[in-house]
């Protein structure tokens, strides 16, 4: 992949990873509250 392509799609990828991490955190917190 070219440098511009890497920079362009990289931003989309990182945004997706942040959302996934938030979901995982939320799941862990709610699991903790349920116990």
């Amino acid at each position: 992949m070219t440098m511009p392509g890497f920079t362009f799609w990289g931003l989309f990828l990182v945004c997706g990873l942040i959302v996934a991490a938030y979901l995982a955190w939320m799941w862990a917190v709610e699991k903790g509250e349920g116990e």
Partner: protein, 484 residues
Amino acid sequence: MTVQAAVFVGYFLVVFGIGWYSLRATRDETDYWIAGGQLGWFTGGATMAATHTSAGTFIGTIGVMYTAGWSFGWVLLSIPLAYWFMVAVLAPRFTRQQELTIPAFMETRYYGKGIRGLSATIILIATVVYIQAQIVAAGLIANTVFGIPTDYGMIAFTVILLVYTVVGGMVAVVYTDAFQLIVMGLGAVFAVPLVLRQVDGVGGLMELVQSAHPLVFTWETMPASLLLTMGLSFFLGGVATPEKLIRLYAMRDMKTIRRGVLFAIVMILGINLLVFVIALSAIVLFPALSTGDLAMPMVASAVLPATLGAIMLAAITAAMMSTVDSLLIVAGSALSVDLDQNLWHTDASPEHRMRMNRIGILAVGTIPLLLILAGVGEGELVQFIVLLFTALMAAAFVLPVVGGVLWARATQEGAAAAMVGGVSATFLWEVLGSPQVEPVLAGFLASAALFVGVSLLTPPPPPEALAPYFDAQEHAAPTSPEPS
């Protein structure tokens, strides 16, 4: 009637309809200022995302990306991280006691009416400037797209906004925000494929952008210090600007807040990424605009088919309205609840208070418009006004709010010094400091130093100020009598 006019009339009818419904749903001050504190995750998250997404996104961000390139896009990452921090660290303690306004929180935590008045004054002044920037952007769009004189566009925008906000308060704001977020999402989702078709898809776009503007995908268009401090500004602004904090009080409970914020994060990231793609396309399609702020209105009026272009313009209007209505609530409540009813008309009847609440919103909407019409504050790039507002709010409120619920030793004097020092340092840097570094850094550092230093030098807060936010054992040590 043209297609554009039909779309706009339909859009405004829905907004007014919601305003009318909200009048009937608003029974008391809790409804008027925090929508009864009973919002679910969808309305709560939608109003957060819609408030966040402003002319700064649809006009300003595109403007900066049009001139400075893709590197600015990475600043976006600070926003979800800020919301996450807000939910995980701040909200659990901050929401233990519900208030109607952020200055009211300051009074409870910092045990004094004076600090509440100070917070309200800072909010009022900064918000008026921010509302001005959004009104200027509205006039610009009305002029570019419809050929309406800028002044008439600005007046129409402000009047429409004031009608439903004054009438329905936070309930109207929340439900119109949810509707406006849907309009924004639809506008962005439908526009991107059509814009990409004009430039031969994503691959074609990248090649064309590179040849038109070779530095667009490099880090050379904006100094790293500026990018990092802009990121810091968005982060701190995301954590503790009053129009976002107040939504924590408006949502039902912590579970709702966690889900609502997730929804807000997804919507904010999605809309911003789509807008970024449109910004890149504008570099190719309109390479010689006088200001980057015109890029989006040009795409909407000259690239998209009439109906879709009208929806896109409605989306831009929705972005501005959904932000300014929230700011009107924050500034209006600062004026009527935190200044007037807190300091002067302390024994007003509920009917009188509601009347004053509505007059407060009317005043904070009319003053910015009159200032612009008198020639004050026109012509600045919208995104930079948004950044200055964010910097001021961050310098004034992040430490007193976040520090206030995490650090039991924080005192009234420390919070007041942090607010005054933070705001002063932000202004000083804006005027005298290096343009390579955003003023938020100076403001935040000054605020932090004063918050900690002055708090430690002054007597610890009384137990009753800490009781709403800390468990008894957490503040037992700092409030025990000092050996003297």
